[in-house]
């Protein structure tokens, strides 16, 4: 029987991130990760299905937090406010994980198979948000547009947050991206063409 190991998940994650940085993602095995963490492979597989999941285990929790926040948002809020407030509630979750998030972003950018997985996760997040908005009574088209506009803001805001040398908060960067999207969507020079 495997014995209980304190902080096994955190130790495995830390070991994996070290090894991905030292040897590269492709050359790191589950065996290496477990050895570096001073744990067995069997313990690894109690927490993660494979080495890729070390990078994605947190996404499940993120999606759950966001969808719960959308579901419990005040009825009077506009769809985009609902989505962005839900993202803002994850500020502290990410603040604790900024060094991890930075290394994770760099790894994903360098590996197409990780990009694909991230893409699919983000799409299932958008679908879950769209459904939660529709359950609040938002029309299907407006729910899709608000969820996708929210995702655009999250992508840009998150990217700026990971790159910010001044370490300003995710909320700061989400609001900046929202204002920028407002300027882009509302600020057409040719409004009358589309009016």
């Amino acid at each position: 029987m495997a014995r209980w190991e304190p902080n096994a998940s955190e130790r495995l994650t830390e070991a994996a991130m070290e090894l991905f940085a030292e040897r590269g993602y492709g050359k790191t095995t589950v065996e290496d990760i477990a050895a570096r963490a001073g744990l067995t492979e069997r313990t690894f597989f109690r927490y993660f299905t494979d080495k890729r999941e070390v990078l994605f285990a947190g996404s499940e929790l993120f999606v759950k937090k966001v969808v719960d926040a959308v579901r419990s948002a005040p009825k009077s809020s506009s769809p985009l406010d609902v989505v962005l407030s839900a993202y803002e509630e994850t500020n502290d979750f990410f603040e604790e994980r900024r060094p991890f998030a930075r290394r994770r972003n760099a790894l994903i950018a360098a590996h197409p198979e990780l990009q694909e997985r991230e893409l699919i996760k983000m799409t299932s997040l958008t679908t879950a948000i769209t459904d939660a908005l529709k359950q609040r009574g938002t029309s299907s088209a407006a729910a899709s547009l608000a969820a996708e506009a929210g995702l655009a803001i999250l992508r840009v805001g998150f990217d700026q947050w990971t790159k910010d040398l001044k370490d300003r908060s995710l909320v700061f960067h989400l609001r900046a991206a929202r204002r920028q999207l407002e300027a882009i969507v509302g600020g057409s020079k040719k409004r009358t063409r589309h009016g």
Copy 2:
């Protein structure tokens, strides 16, 4: 040597769409498709790598048309106008293909592996548009936001277009989706919270 067959690609596409509707996508083989079209499997493989590509061959052309239009847009246009004008230029391309687009949409909605492929294609489109906007001098964040806002409008506009019982044009639906996005992004009830 395979002899030249007139309209082979169109005949194969038509045969595939018929069979997907009659037997289901999963139960249709390349052999079936070639036989229905009165052509050989060898001829099929000169046009498509597999049966899935029957549904995606047109996307390459669509991406090329859109990216070319972004590249040749007037310097004075705003990033979102550039993207949407590029999508509007594909109006006639899609008008000729509305029945195909409707059947294709239904197939993709029913098959997760096709959804995944569509998602990856749409992401590479967004990346190509973002890069083309950056080459025009748009900042990286603004280029991403305009490309993703454009994609949100395309998704919703295209979906409404395939469902429209009145057969109004893609341009009509893109403009309607744009106005709706403007209302969603600009129309927050709590602007001051984010100001």
